[in-house]
Symmetry: C2
Subunit: 235 residues, 2 copies
């Protein structure tokens, strides 16, 4: 019997219409939707985004929602990923196609990488369908261009000592999930004397999207900060 195929599908930052045509078609035809949750009680944001597409389906499909808790312990996380991969494997083995959905793009800070690694080693076919990344979504919402001409773009998931080393040599910074470390970030960025434009975007392209100049002061999870240094003032 033909084995199933695993699709890693980026669902974009929040607006259902930012799904690609390809993602939308696949989500209407796969047998299984795999949508990880960070907590038992929380609905998956990625699943909420694709719901209007699933609502158009008239056939049966299954939703598998493994738990991927936000913990730091590597060996405990591995157990969760192993378990998710097991659940996916059993369906692929039966010839079912599975779409693993991920906020933004599957190749940028996504847990899809860990699951794909396991499924790939088992010999199943995998296809990645790229999605709109949160930072291009945020740049579009803020009305600024991220990079032009010879500018260098740096994307950092957290503030660590490497940011200070890279800062003087790049033009535009994207800091993902800034709420986790906004004070350190503010200090590091303000210490750079170049002229800069700063935008923070919470819940980009969602109904409760919030765009403001400067840094984010509250602790919303889905906040991205864009820092663009002026092209004429760089070293």
């Amino acid at each position: 019997m033909k084995k199933g195929k695993l699709y890693g599908i980026g669902v974009g930052p929040g607006d259902t219409e930012l799904l690609t045509i390809k993602a939308s078609k696949l989500l209407k035809t796969v047998d299984v939707i795999c949508s990880p949750r960070s907590a038992e009680s929380k609905p998956s944001i990625a699943l909420t985004i694709i719901q209007p597409v699933l609502d158009e389906r008239e056939d049966e499909y299954e939703i598998v929602d493994p738990l991927f808790p936000m913990i730091e312990d590597k060996s405990e996380l591995n157990l969760y990923w192993d378990h998710a991969a097991d659940r996916i494997e059993r369906r692929l083995e039966k010839g079912l196609n599975v779409a693993f959905i991920t906020l933004g793009d599957p190749t940028i800070f996504s847990t899809f990488a860990y699951v794909a690694d396991r499924i790939s080693k088992l010999g199943f076919e995998i296809e990645v369908v790229p999605g709109i990344t949160s930072f291009t979504g945020c740049a579009a919402a803020s009305g600024i261009s991220l990079v032009e001409k010879d500018e260098i773009l740096v994307v950092v998931p957290k503030v660590d000592d490497r940011l200070e080393k890279i800062l003087p040599h790049a033009d535009t910074f994207v800091i993902m999930k800034t709420s986790r470390h906004s004070e350190d970030l503010e200090r590091i960025i303000e210490a750079d004397e170049r002229e800069k434009t700063i935008f923070s975007v919470q819940n980009c392209t969602m109904p409760d999207e919030n765009i403001f100049k400067g840094f984010s002061k509250d602790k919303k999870y889905l906040t991205t900060t864009l820092v663009k240094f002026s092209p004429d003032k760089k070293d």
Copy 2:
């Protein structure tokens, strides 16, 4: 009379199905499609990508294709952008909606920034619709994840002396249009002693897509190189 609106629409890396639902809907309803060409004789790649969507239209629409030559002279380029902005302005003034299409995403190394700047100063409404960037498209095609956990992503449009300064502090590098400077790039990357995986992708997601390990040796325009340093071996 109500003025028209300018849309900056990212059409993705090459596959028509990587258009977003939002882009596809807008392209079927706007009055004017503005699609820059780099040479009189060359068809616009972005226009080729959206052609199947335009073919579904039964109503009339206009295509405006200003020339944006690949030259370095800033003041000469300004004249071309001024001219394109004039052509767009005349249509917006008449109440027509205009979609300016751009390969990849309008906020990442796109000429849309220059045109939007001019149109914005004239007081017209502008909306940016993000597109799949070439580098997430290339990562998906290569089957690798760009960044995970605390990794830092750097995107550079050309090889200059800043790349060597940033290199030791980052994990993944995307070099756009690598064919312009592949020898320098190869030397700089190879000098970094960390273990690395290198993929180059030509004409990503297009019918003549070509993916290979290592650097690109020929001079195709649409080549992107991904360099990922191994997480366990970093400094």
